[in-house]
Amino acid sequence: MTIAEPSQSSMLDLLTGFIVELRAAGLPVSLTENLDAMQAITHIPIEDRNAFKYALAATLVKNNAHWRAFETVFEVYFSLRGPAYALGGGDELPELDDDDTAANPEAAGAGNGGGGGEALTPEQMAEMLFKALQQGDDAMLRALARQAVTRYAGMEPGRPVGGTYYLYRTLRNLDLDNVLEQLMSQAKEQAPAPLTPLEERLEQDEFQSRVDRLKQEIEAEIRRRLVADRGVEAMAKTLRKPLPEDVDFMHASREELMGLRKAIYPLTRKLAVRLARKRRHGRKGPLDFRNTVRHSLSYGGVPADPKFRYPRPAKPEIFVIADISGSVAAFARFTLQLVHAISGQFSRVRSFVFIDGIDEVTRFFEGVDDISQAIHRVNTEADVVWVDGHSDYGHAFEVFWDRYGREISPKTTILILGDARNNYHASQSWVIKEMRKKARHVYWLNPEPKAYWDTGDSIVGEYGAHCDGTYECRNLRQLEKFVEVLE
């Protein structure tokens, strides 16, 4: 079955399902875009899977951050039927041909059916893998990926296990770290002369990228088989992942955190532009009498064109007070990074971090280009533990007030970051009350979902009563929205 074959209506059904799934994954697909996509695919040779994919992408995905989500859904909806599925059995892989065709996805659990009767031993397979990686033979890697899944993933029809489990099993059996090590030592033996670190590095990057490619193939293969087993819609649902801007700070996986780190830089640039623009526009200064009179001369003395003084709103000074205990550390890090990255928009940014003790960390950021390094120093060098290293907001606030309270001025905006889980210590919320009297604004940002506020030892409500606003800040989208409020 190829995508060229289905009748018009079934193609339409498939596309409609596809778009519904895209929307469910959070991509904003409008009706016009939907129609454009339908129109676009009539213009391309439909058996060309790549062209088909890019036609859909160009009409449906208007934000590069959404590309991954699109790709996943596309794989699920169209890969099985696409010619790529036939690729594995193609002519270019003579040795594996028999095995390959025998292992059709429905019989995935049956292992290598051994059509040719000469199933590879694990050793042979490992050797072929090694060679393929060494030579960067893509076709072979693809075939081996399928083999590996058949052999090691142990997939059984109808078993309610996620793809990650199978991926883990396959990778564990292949032991790619070890393979990589061998590749390197082999290359070392063959080297005519000892080589410089630079060359070593390049070689390593090359092997690493091949291994990554293999991993992707394996993942795609598992996904293909799962789709065959469970059907398109169920599969799409299990694979659905939040878009980078919707990833929850508190529960982000390592991979998601990397994605977040990448997303934060363009975000800061955008915010800086937006804040600067907001400052320049949208506000008019007081009437400039002299200038108006001068311009009135060209209208015969009639002040027809009033002139205003150029507005020079004062830039706020920002105090960030962040809880960096384990549960909320990721959130504190992103917020500190964000605020410092746009510090040009404020007259001054001072940062304080606490767990049960509090320490000023502004010095780590001063004169440093590399914010992530500064954050690293905050995490390792700041003196934040007073007694036992469990959050104690009350004590931290008290100390803050004693040490720095005098420096709060009417220009200061204070941001407090934390989940307000105080381990049942005294709240000392009077500090917040006093702060608010002196400061321009006091805002509280809480990375917990609103439903959890004031449950257990969370006392955000008690603190929030004295703030100008408490905001739920679970993901980049909410954080971005909040920063725009700042002025």
Partner: protein, 300 residues
């Protein structure tokens, strides 16, 4: 309307003829834009060939490139059209002695003769084929974007005094954006979206070989490998394709045949533009790889 291209592959090979190496996505979207008569919104990091794409397409079509550079404060009179009011004044003064009526003069001074066309209107009114490039559209304010909407969806401009001017032929339209802000939904909806990222290693090598013909295959290979390695670091600004090309040229001029660490580190300032990036890359490139993973020298 006749289509300009037969297939995505045709786009690709014709772009290659003018030394623009595209990939599936680029060729596919250009092809579709032509068939659907839609503008292309090209987005991506700086220096990956967004503007060059428009220029190259203009070149293969033998079309004139009309470029509108966007900036903050761009307005109607700079983008669309303006009445030549000095000429209008002259006209009125010249009429003073004659007996013409108010209506005559009014229809007269709001005619074609007194209209100054700006890039957008010019693209619409042109008889010969044109490619319209609206460069760095993310620099205009969100309100100004609205100016573009009529042109982008219907290829027409409404001038109150003259009526609606419709395009004689649908031009290819490219909008580029460096993504400094989110463009409005209305604008995005009207365009096909194309993200041009850094090319993969093979394509980048081809680009280097095409743009720097004197370079040896070996050197080009090394250049692109090192650039790939550098792009994996967390940098403020990753090296762009144009910087890769500059670097290859520099190395060639210095007579380098095979890049050593010292060569790479000495010339890093061509690839990277921030001191902190250079420091970091220097550290990484000369670092002993055995610390990261078991390292092995190269075979060749």
């Amino acid at each position: 309307m006749d289509s300009r291209f037969v297939s995505p592959d045709a786009v690709r090979s014709r772009l290659r003829d003018v030394d623009y190496l595209s990939d599936d996505a680029i060729a596919g979207v250009v092809f579709l834009a032509d068939r659907l008569g839609k503008p292309i919104l090209v987005e991506g990091p700086a220096g990956t060939g967004k503007t060059q794409l428009a220029k190259s397409v203009a070149e293969i079509l033998g079309a004139r490139l009309i470029r509108l550079q966007c900036y903050e404060g761009l307005d109607e009179s700079k983008a669309l059209y303006e009445w030549n009011y000095k000429k209008q004044l002259l006209r009125i003064q010249a009429e003073r002695n004659n007996e013409s009526t108010w209506e005559d003069i009014e229809t007269d001074i709001f005619s074609d003769e007194f209209l100054l066309t700006r890039p957008l209107l010019e693209a619409i009114r042109s008889d010969d084929p044109v490619v319209l490039l609206i460069d760095e559209v993310d620099r205009v304010e969100i309100e100004t974007e609205a100016l573009l909407l009529e042109i982008l969806s219907d290829y027409q401009v409404s001038i109150p005094e003259l009526g609606t001017i419709t395009a004689k032929q649908i031009p290819m339209v490219f909008l580029t954006s460096n993504n400094t802000r989110e463009l409005s939904e209305a604008l995005k909806r009207r365009c096909l979206f194309l993200h041009i990222d850094y090319p993969d290693m093979e394509r980048e090598k081809e680009i280097v070989l095409t743009k720097v013909p004197e370079i040896t295959d070996n050197l080009a290979d090394q250049v692109t490998r090192i650039v790939r390695s550098i792009r994996q670091l967390e940098l403020k600004k990753s090296p762009s394709v144009s910087e890769t090309i500059d670097w290859a040229r520099t190395l060639l001029m210095l007579g380098v045949e095979s890049i050593t660490e010292a060569d790479a580190i000495d010339t890093l300032n061509i690839l990277l533009k921030y001191q902190s990036d250079i420091t970091r890359a220097t550290k990484e490139l000369s670092a002993d790889t055995t610390q990261r993973r078991p390292g092995v020298p190269r075979t060749s």
